[in-house]
C-alpha cells in the first residue's frame, strides 16, 4: 500500500533523513515515535510531498515516484492518495467547518455541492460536531478544530491517512477524546501512519511501530517488541525518559 | 514553466503599454495638425477659459486669426501648466506654446522665437496711493517686494536685475502667488510694492478698488510664441502672418478689444525707463 525506500533528505548540508525504508500494508496502522528532532515529522511530510525528498522512492497505492525525476502532475497524483491531519489543525480560516470539508471534495474530487455537503455532514457526525458545522475555525476550540481536521482528511477517502502529532497542541483533557476517534477510524480498517508522542496510544492502536533517532530508523516491529521489550540501547533510553517525564512535570 | 511566467508578465506589460491607438498627425482634410500648448495658469485678458473650459482671450483670438491665414495647418490647443508645456515643446511633444512668453538670450538658445512679438506686456511696480518713493526696481533693493512666482516672465526680469545689480532685490518665492493677497499686503503696508503686469492690475482694480496706484513702469516686454527649435518653417510662416495682422489692423483691433489700448501704436508714448533687457 505504502512503501518508502532509501529516502534521503538534506537541508543544505544537514542530513536529516538517512536512507529510510518503510512498508505499510493495506489496513495497517504504523506509528512513528522518537525524540524531537529525530526526523519523524519530516519523514511524514515527505510522504505527502509537503517536503521534497532529496532522493529515494515513494509509492502509495500504486503511484510510484522517484525523487530524482518527478513532475508536478505526479506529485499532485501522489498527494491525492493520502490525506494529512496536522499538528496545528490548519483549517482554512476563511471557511466554515462544513466548507472546510466540502472544499476538497468539490475542488479536487469535482463532487457536486449537494453531495459534498452530504458526505461532509456524515463525517462531522462521526466526529461529533454536527451542531457546529456553520462555525468558523476561530469560533471552535482546539479539540473541535482537530475533529474537523480529522473529518476533512477522512472525507477525502484517501488510501492512507497521515497524522502529524495530532494531539500535541491540545489540552491534556481533550487528548483522550481525539485519540479515541483515531482508534475508531483504525478499527474501520483505514491504512494510517501516525507520528505521535503518546507511547501508550501507539502501543494500543498500531500494527507496526517505528522508532527513529537522528534521521535513522533504529528499530521497527510489533508494538509489543519495540515499545515494551526494545532490543536497541537508544530505544531503551528514549522509553525510560518518556516514562520518567511525569515526575518532572509535577 | 518559468518561460511561461515571464511571457505572462510581458503580455500584461505590453497590454498596459498599448492601450489606445494614436491619433494621426494630419487631420481628415489633409491639414497638418499643430499642437499648441496653452498655459493653464490663466491670466486674463491674455488668456482665460470660457464656460466650456476652452481657452479664449487675446492669445487665442490672435492664434485663430493666424490659423485662418495658414490653410495648410490646423491648430489644436492643449492645456498644461507652463513648466510642463515648456518641457513638452523642448521634448517635441508640442509644436509651439503660447503664454505671453518673454524673450531672453538663454531661452533663445533652447527655443525658437519668431522675430515679431504678437503683443506687449507692461510690467510695473504697484504701490500704495501715498507711496511716492518707488518708481523703478532700483528703489526696491531695501524695500519689501510681495512674493513672486519661481517661474514665468516676471521672475525672469527680477532674476536678470539681481544678476546685474548689487545690492539685489530681496525676493520671496511662492508658487502661484495670489494677486489679490499680494495687493492687499501692499494696501495694508505689509509689503511695499507688487511687481505685476499693468493690465492684470487694472483688471483687478476694477473689482477691488484698492488704495493702490502704479508707482512706475518697469518694462514694456514684447511677448512671443515659442517654437520647437527645428520648426523654422512654421515659425517663419507664423512670423509673416503676424506682421500682416499688425499691418492690416487686425491685432491692434484685438488689443483694443481685450486691453482697451492698442499697444502696437502707443509704443512710443509709453516711457520705457528703468530696467530693460539687452
Amino acid at each position: 500500500m505504502l512503501t518508502v525506500s532509501n529516502l534521503h533528505k538534506y537541508y543544505g548540508d544537514t542530513h536529516v533523513l538517512k536512507g529510510i525504508d518503510i512498508e505499510v500494508k493495506q489496513g495497517e496502522v504504523l506509528s512513528i515515535v522518537g525524540p524531537s528532532g529525530s526526523g519523524k515529522t519530516t519523514l511524514l511530510r515527505c510522504m505527502n510531498y509537503l517536503e521534497k525528498p532529496s532522493s529515494g522512492q515513494l509509492s502509495i497505492n500504486k503511484v510510484d515516484i522517484d525523487a530524482k525525476h518527478v513532475s508536478k502532475k505526479q506529485i499532485h497524483t501522489l498527494r491525492q492518495q493520502s490525506s494529512m491531519v496536522f499538528q496545528q489543525y490548519n483549517l482554512f480560516k476563511n471557511k466554515t467547518a462544513l466548507e472546510n470539508i466540502t472544499e476538497g471534495l468539490m475542488i479536487a474530487k469535482k463532487m457536486p455541492k449537494s453531495e459534498a455537503e452530504e458526505v461532509a455532514e456524515s463525517f462531522l457526525k462521526q466526529v461529533g460536531l454536527s451542531e457546529r458545522k456553520q462555525a468558523y475555525p476561530n469560533e471552535l476550540s482546539g479539540g473541535q478544530q482537530q475533529r474537523v481536521g480529522i473529518a476533512r482528511a477522512m472525507a477525502m477517502n484517501p488510501a492512507v491517512l497521515l497524522f502529524d502529532e495530532p494531539t500535541s497542541a491540545l489540552d491534556p483533557e481533550i487528548v483522550g477524546d481525539i485519540l479515541a476517534i483515531i482508534k475508531d477510524i483504525a478499527k474501520q480498517g483505514m491504512t494510517m501512519v501516525i507520528v505521535t508522542h503518546e507511547i501508550e496510544f501507539a502501543r494500543s492502536v498500531s500494527d507496526q511501530v517505528v522508532f527513529m533517532d537522528q534521521g535513522e530508523v533504529v528499530e521497527k516491529g510489533k508494538p509489543a517488541d519495540v515499545l515494551v521489550h526494545p532490543s536497541h540501547e537508544r530505544t531503551k533510553r528514549f522509553l525510560k525518559r518518556i516514562h520518567q517525564e511525569p515526575d518532572f512535570i509535577i | 514553466m518559468k518561460a511561461i511566467r515571464i511571457l505572462f508578465v510581458m503580455v500584461v506589460l505590453s497590454v498596459l503599454m498599448s492601450g489606445c491607438s494614436g491619433v494621426q498627425g494630419t487631420a481628415n482634410d489633409g491639414k497638418e495638425i499643430i499642437q499648441v500648448a496653452v498655459s493653464a495658469e490663466v491670466n486674463p485678458p491674455f488668456l482665460r477659459n470660457d464656460e466650456n473650459n476652452e481657452p479664449t482671450g487675446y492669445d487665442i483670438e490672435y492664434l485663430k486669426a493666424v490659423d485662418e491665414r495658414l490653410p495648410q495647418y490646423e491648430f489644436k490647443y492643449v492645456w498644461g501648466e507652463e513648466e510642463s508645456n515648456l518641457i513638452g515643446v523642448g521634448a517635441g511633444k508640442f509644436d509651439m506654446a503660447i503664454n505671453w512668453f518673454f524673450s531672453n538670450p538663454e531661452r533663445e538658445e533652447k527655443f525658437l522665437y519668431p522675430e515679431t512679438p504678437y503683443g506687449y506686456s507692461m510690467t510695473g511696480l504697484i504701490v500704495h496711493k501715498d507711496t511716492n518713493n518707488i518708481e523703478s526696481l532700483d528703489d526696491m533693493t531695501d524695500k519689501e517686494l510681495a512674493p513672486v512666482s519661481a517661474s514665468g516672465g516676471l521672475r525672469s526680469i527680477l532674476n536678470a536685475y539681481n544678476e546685474q545689480n548689487d545690492p539685489p532685490i530681496p525676493l520671496t518665492t511662492v508658487d502661484n502667488p495670489s494677486n489679490e493677497n499680494n495687493l492687499k499686503r501692499v494696501e495694508s503696508g505689509r509689503s511695499d510694492a507688487v511687481f505685476l503686469n499693468i493690465t492684470t492690475f487694472e483688471a483687478i482694480q476694477k473689482n477691488l478698488q484698492l488704495d493702490l496706484k502704479v508707482g512706475g513702469i518697469v518694462s514694456k516686454e514684447p511677448v512671443y510664441v515659442v517654437f520647437q527649435p527645428d520648426h523654422e518653417e512654421l515659425a517663419e510662416e507664423i512670423n509673416h502672418v503676424t506682421e500682416e495682422l499688425i499691418e492690416d489692423g487686425t491685432l491692434p483691433e484685438l488689443a483694443e478689444k481685450w486691453f482697451g489700448v492698442n499697444f502696437f501704436d502707443d509704443l512710443e508714448d509709453i516711457s520705457v525707463e528703468g530696467f530693460q533687457y539687452e
Partner: protein, 232 residues
C-alpha cells in the same frame, strides 16, 4: 471681494462638473495599479531572475522620487524614448499618460501590500490545501487570495485615498480635474478669494475620501465573520 451664496453655488457647480473625470482617473488607475501590484508581487515572491532585480529598482525609484517627476518622465520621456524606435505615441490622450503614471506609482505601493499580505497567510494554509488534493492555482483562488484580501484591504483603502489626492497633479499636464477647475477659477479671478476656495476644495476631497473609507468599511464588515480568526 466677498462671494454671495449664488457665487458659491456657481463655483461648486463648476468644480463638481469635473468630478467624474477625477473619479475616472482614480478608478481606472486603481484597476491597473492592482494588476501591476499583483504582477510585481508575484515576481518578488517567486524571485524570478532579472525581473526580480528590475522590480526592486522600479520600487525604489517610484517610492523615492516625487510623483511630478514621474509624471514628466512618462508624459515627455517615454514618448521620446519610443520615438527613437520609430513608435509615435505623442498623440495619445493625456488621460492615458496620467493613468500610466498613477498606475505605475500606486502599483509599486500595492505590490508591497499584496506581497506582505500574501506572506502573512502562512504556509500551513497552502499545505492544508495540498493535503485535501488541491493544486496550487486552486489553493490560490479558494484559500490564499480570499485570506490575503482581507489582510490587504485596509492598506488598499489607504493607497486609494493617497491616489485620490495624487490625481490633483493631473492638471500639471492640462487635465482639468476638480483641482484644475479650482485653479482656472482662481486664475480668472486674479486670485481673488483664494483662501475660501481652497477651503471649499479641501472639503470636496474630504467628502470623497470619507465615501471611500465607508466603502472599505462596508467590504470589511461583509467579510468580518469569516475572517475574525486571522488576527489571532
Amino acid at each position: 471681494m466677498t462671494f454671495g451664496l449664488s457665487d458659491w453655488i456657481n463655483i461648486l457647480g463648476q468644480v463638481l462638473d469635473r468630478l467624474p473625470l477625477t473619479l475616472a482617473m482614480l478608478v481606472v488607475s486603481l484597476i491597473f495599479a492592482m494588476l501591476i501590484g499583483i504582477v510585481i508581487a508575484f515576481i518578488r515572491i517567486e524571485k524570478i531572475p532579472v525581473l526580480h532585480q528590475l522590480a526592486t529598482v522600479y520600487l525604489s525609484f517610484t517610492r523615492s522620487t516625487p510623483l511630478i517627476v514621474q509624471l514628466f518622465l512618462v508624459y515627455f520621456g517615454i514618448p521620446q524614448l519610443l520615438l527613437t524606435f520609430g513608435i509615435d505615441i505623442n498623440h495619445w490622450s493625456r488621460f492615458v499618460f496620467v493613468v500610466i503614471t498613477f498606475s505605475l506609482h500606486t502599483g509599486a505601493y500595492l505590490s508591497e501590500v499584496f506581497r506582505s499580505s500574501y506572506l502573512s497567510v502562512g504556509k500551513e494554509q497552502l499545505e492544508a490545501a495540498y493535503s485535501v488534493g488541491m493544486t496550487y492555482p486552486q489553493a490560490l483562488r479558494r484559500i490564499l487570495i480570499p485570506q490575503a484580501f482581507r489582510v490587504a484591504l485596509p492598506n488598499v483603502g489607504n493607497h486609494t485615498i493617497e491616489l485620490l489626492k495624487d490625481t490633483a497633479l493631473a492638471f500639471t499636464i492640462g487635465i482639468i480635474d476638480i483641482m484644475g477647475q479650482v485653479k482656472l477659477i482662481l486664475g480668472n479671478n486674479y486670485g481673488v478669494g483664494m483662501f475660501q476656495i481652497y477651503v471649499a476644495i479641501a472639503v470636496v476631497y474630504w467628502i470623497i475620501c470619507i465615501l471611500i473609507e465607508l466603502v472599505i468599511l462596508w467590504i470589511e464588515r461583509s467579510q468580518r465573520k469569516k475572517h475574525a480568526g486571522i488576527s489571532n
